[in-house]
Amino acid sequence: MAPKDDGVDGINRSRRRFLKSTGVVGVAASVIAPDGAAAQTGPAAAGPGAVPVRLQVNGRQLDLMLEPRVTLLDALRMRADLTGNKRGCDRGACGACTMLVDGRPVYACSTLAIAVQGKQIRNVDGLAQGDTLHPVQQAFCDKDALMCGFCTPGFVMASVGLLEQHPNATAEQIRKGLDGNICRCGTFPRIFEAVSSVAGGRRG
């Protein structure tokens, strides 16, 4: 899992801002491989070949054969033709892949598909009801909160996740909640406007 540590509720300091303001250089996270003993006593290793993976995506069951290393993003994009969410950086930095897993925004490029079996996964392809847009989607259209649109699915899902947890999100919560997403075209002011217009009308 790659939860987005934007600090909406908790420590009032986002990951991005922390990195930027301190200029910390070093090993951000180390990957610890299981040693032989742990591997023997732990659950049986899956793979390396394809294994059956059952996902609940947008309320539908999806049975796929995936190598365990396949990410949630790639599984949906390349094995289920759910191409709405994008891959911008593939390292959990740009947020274009943002999906909701059990209601929490996650970076799907850094989340293994095999690890989210049994959880409720929502990506942007399943957000609208037919031709009726979700209020967040509608607001993005109304405020011109997109240009090339490649980051948009991630921003939309991050905004939906934020507003489901904080229906009356304050300006500060909106900023923090969307700090894990990058728009290269520079639509931030209008994204802020769009999300604010949905968030119980509270601005400031």
Binding site: G23, G88, C141, L146, G149
Partner: protein, 741 residues
């Protein structure tokens, strides 16, 4: 002007050169209407719903039956000779269907890789994961050669000789006026060096291509700023008729110049692997490849000596400039920027380094020239104790429709609260200092042909406007509908715009902010002709002269009697089974060139930590006739944000020993996020009499200089290089204190 020679430019473009006023169109009926119903209004972006739902299919989203995935093997070394490439192990790997050697091994100069990320080989497999695995199994043997990534060493002659015709290319000296007399007239002189750094485009959708062969015909989906140019690229490189190549790009995730001029090695490799395997092949670059190999904004630097008279006129400007555009590309930029300086000399050197080649990046050369010139301008203004706004007004070219800086500066100063600005160095106590800065911009952005538009009106009232152009994200699809709808007296949503396919006709590539000014006239011409044809059909029914009919409010009616006429759908019923179908092309008189803009910035600086916070930006910008207000304003917001990234965050950092990029990703290559946004106000000026002019590039020019000058105003320390990291701000302040002591 040693400007980018790689960028297509309309004639007359330049820094402050007066452009001819818009001439009359060939036929007065094509002229832009004096009352506009859809033009200039806030029409919602047409592809909004497709983009917010994920339905929009970018190249990255094209999934074809049986499609394979390709991966390029790239050099880890900035400079090396390829002595052997062994694909055998890769070709035996699971799922692998093919491979090729791009850089042939051998002893010649042509067998060298010239930068980290240079293409060497490629493989193609059933899945992307398998392709990535296989790429690691390609055995490339390199003879590592001495590399050059240090520009100063190249200039000093202490770098290894890397480039066949020399590491440094001296440009011609440009001189005008009498430099000695200019310095003699100066009350003060200034000698300083200014520089800007290399940044990369970071299009959120990477460069990518899907190629599918049908016999000897090639279908291409590619993330490109020029579908027609891409068709030519593929056909020429593959030695096949252009008639056999179809290129499509319905949606693309940004280009910013890096997808304009060529389909690149990555595009051709995709086509070659598709031909080799007989299957559709997708090749998308990853983020690291994006940073290394597919373009960047060149660095720029200048050692400047300038003189200013006691009353604030810049009397002399003498500059030696240089920059690097990578392994063999130019690094030109306009200098001095915009300001009128009678006596000046400039010599320029392109420095070649073992780094990825530059590609045009949003307003090529202008942000660099702007930064150097504007920072110098404030230093000169301080020497004569003159307000920066007044100093600019004194030194800018005369006011003209394409040179509106004086008016905009006065309006902006008033709106921004410039009168509250203190002199250089915030005198208040405490660690948080506040400052303001201002800078100006210009850009050409004119139109050109061929830019064909095809308009159909069918008996059910459908209107199709088809243009062989592409939408980088600027809103081209919306613009097509707006121009057509305004002419036909319809709401924009009644028009179906079709773009992004070479089967739709020929249109210029999208570069130099030329798309709006190229296609809007063509659409206008086609729509006027189509409406004329409809009038011919309807006039006999109403028993009137076709020339007496006009189209407004969704009706075709008598000019002087709105009640006598037909609703659009009724009118179109008289078209018959064969739709009206007409073509238009760009023609002079409906577009012009050269915009002006000014931007004001306000910052706070924590002088204990060096952290800069951008608090406010005001942009005043013109672009001739405003076609589509929402999307045009979005371009200005985007330009500002692009430039604040350039000023404060982005930096391609190279390891000085290995010559490799240390931050080829998006966590250490910093970009602003939501919390970094200042308050922004955009004032878009409408100049309908000038016709359409592009707006994509100019707003990204002045922001960086305005921010750097605001930091100077806050701290009293002049920021002569970018980006404005805490370390750089603290260093500048320390040097300032040393000088004072």
């Amino acid at each position: 002007m040693a400007d980018q020679d790689t960028m297509p430019r309309p004639p007359g473009e330049g820094t402050g050169r007066p452009a001819a006023a818009a001439q009359a169109p060939l036929d007065p009926k094509f002229a832009w209407p004096t009352t506009r119903t859809v033009l200039g209004t806030a029409v919602k972006r047409f592809d909004g719903p497709d983009k917010v739902t994920g339905r929009a299919r970018y190249t990255f989203d094209i999934n074809r039956p049986g499609m394979l995935y390709a991966r390029i093997v790239r050099s880890p070394h900035p400079h090396a000779r390829v002595t052997a490439v062994d694909l055998a192990a890769a070709l035996r790997a699971p799922g692998v269907r093919g491979g090729l050697v791009h850089r042939q091994p051998g002893p010649e100069a042509a067998n060298r890789v010239m930068f980290q990320g240079d293409e060497v080989a490629a493989v193609v497999a059933d899945t992307e994961e398998q392709a990535i695995d296989a790429a690691r199994l390609v055995k490339v043997t390199y003879e590592v050669l001495p590399h050059l990534t240090n520009v100063s060493a190249a200039l000093a002659g202490t770098a290894p000789a890397v480039f066949t015709n020399g590491n440094v290319r001296q440009g011609q000296v440009q001189e005008s006026g009498d430099l000695a007399a200019g310095f003699a007239a100066a009350a003060h002189t200034l000698e300083q060096t200014y520089e800007t750094h290399v940044i990369t485009h970071v299009c959120l959708e990477s460069h990518g291509t899907v190629c599918e062969w049908e016999g000897d015909r090639l279908n291409v989906w590619i993330s490109t700023q020029g579908i027609n140019a891409a068709r030519e690229n593929f056909a020429t490189a593959l030695n096949m008729p252009q008639a056999n190549v179809r290129v499509q790009c319905q949606y693309m995730g940004g280009g910013f110049g890096s997808k304009a001029l060529s389909v690149g090695a990555e595009g051709l490799i995709c086509a070659q692997l598709a031909r080799q395997t007989g299957k559709p092949v997708k090749l998308m670059l990853d983020r690291k490849e994006e940073h290394l190999a597919v373009g960047n904004r060149p660095s720029a630097a200048a050692r400047v000596k300038a003189g200013v008279s006691a009353d604030g006129l810049i009397t002399a400007f003498d500059a030696e400039s240089w920059g690097t555009g990578g392994a063999g590309a130019a690094a030109g930029f306009p200098l001095p920027y915009v300001y009128r300086i009678a006596n000046r000399r400039r010599s320029h050197k392109d420095v070649f380094t073992n780094t990825g080649l530059q590609r045009p990046m949003r307003a090529p050369g202008h942000p660099q020239g702007s930064f150097i010139t504007e920072v110098m301008a404030d230093e000169l203004a301080d020497l004569v104790k003159m307000d920066p706004v007044e100093f600019r007004i004194k030194n800018l070219p005369p006011e003209a429709p394409n040179a509106m800086w004086r008016s905009y500066l006065r309006e902006g100063a008033e709106a921004f609260g410039w009168s509250k600005r203190h002199a250089t160095g915030d005198p208040t106590s405490g660690p948080i200092k506040t400052g303001m800065g201002v800078a100006v911009c210009t850009w050409g952005g004119g139109g050109r042909g061929p830019a064909q538009a095809h308009c159909e009106i069918a008996s059910d009232g459908s209107v199709i406007m088809r243009v062989g152009t592409q939408d980088l994200g600027t809103g081209t699809r919306t613009l097509v509908a707006v121009v057509a709808a305004d002419t036909l007296g319809l709401p924009a949503e009644r028009v179906t715009p079709q773009i992004g396919d070479t089967n739709h006709g020929v249109s210029p590539l999208s570069g130099g902010s030329t798309t709006a000014a190229s296609i809007s006239p063509a659409i206008r011409v086609a729509a006027v002709k189509a409406l004329d044809a409809l009038k011919e059909k309807v006039a006999p029914v109403l028993n009137v002269d076709p020339a007496s009919l006009v189209a407004t409010g969704g009706r075709l009616h008598m000019r002087d009697d709105a009640n006598k006429g037909l609703g659009w759908t009724e009118a179109c019923k008289h078209i018959g089974p064969q739709p009206i179908a007409v073509d238009g092309d760009w023609q002079p008189g409906l577009s012009s060139v050269t915009t002006s803009g000014v931007q004001f910035a306000e910052v706070t600086v924590d002088v204990e930590t060096g952290i800069v916070k951008l608090t406010r930006i005001l942009a005043i910008q013109d672009c001739g006739l405003v076609v589509s207000r929402l999307t045009a304003e979005s371009q200005v917001y985007g330009g500002i944000i692009g430039s604040l990234n350039f000023a404060m965050y982005e930096d391609r950092i190279l390891d000085r020993n290995t010559g490799q990029m240390v931050n080829p990703n998006m966590e250490w290559y910093l970009l602003a996020g939501m919390s970094d946004m200042p308050q922004m106000e955009v004032r878009l000026k409408d100049q309908p009499e000038r016709g359409v002019i592009g707006i994509g590039e100019p707003p990204t020019v002045p922001t960086a200089a305005a921010i750097a000058l605001a930091v100077r105003n806050a701290t009293g320390a002049t920021m002569r290089s970018l980006p404005l990291t805490p370390a750089r701000v603290l260093n500048a302040m320390r040097q300032q204190n040393v000088r004072r002591a």
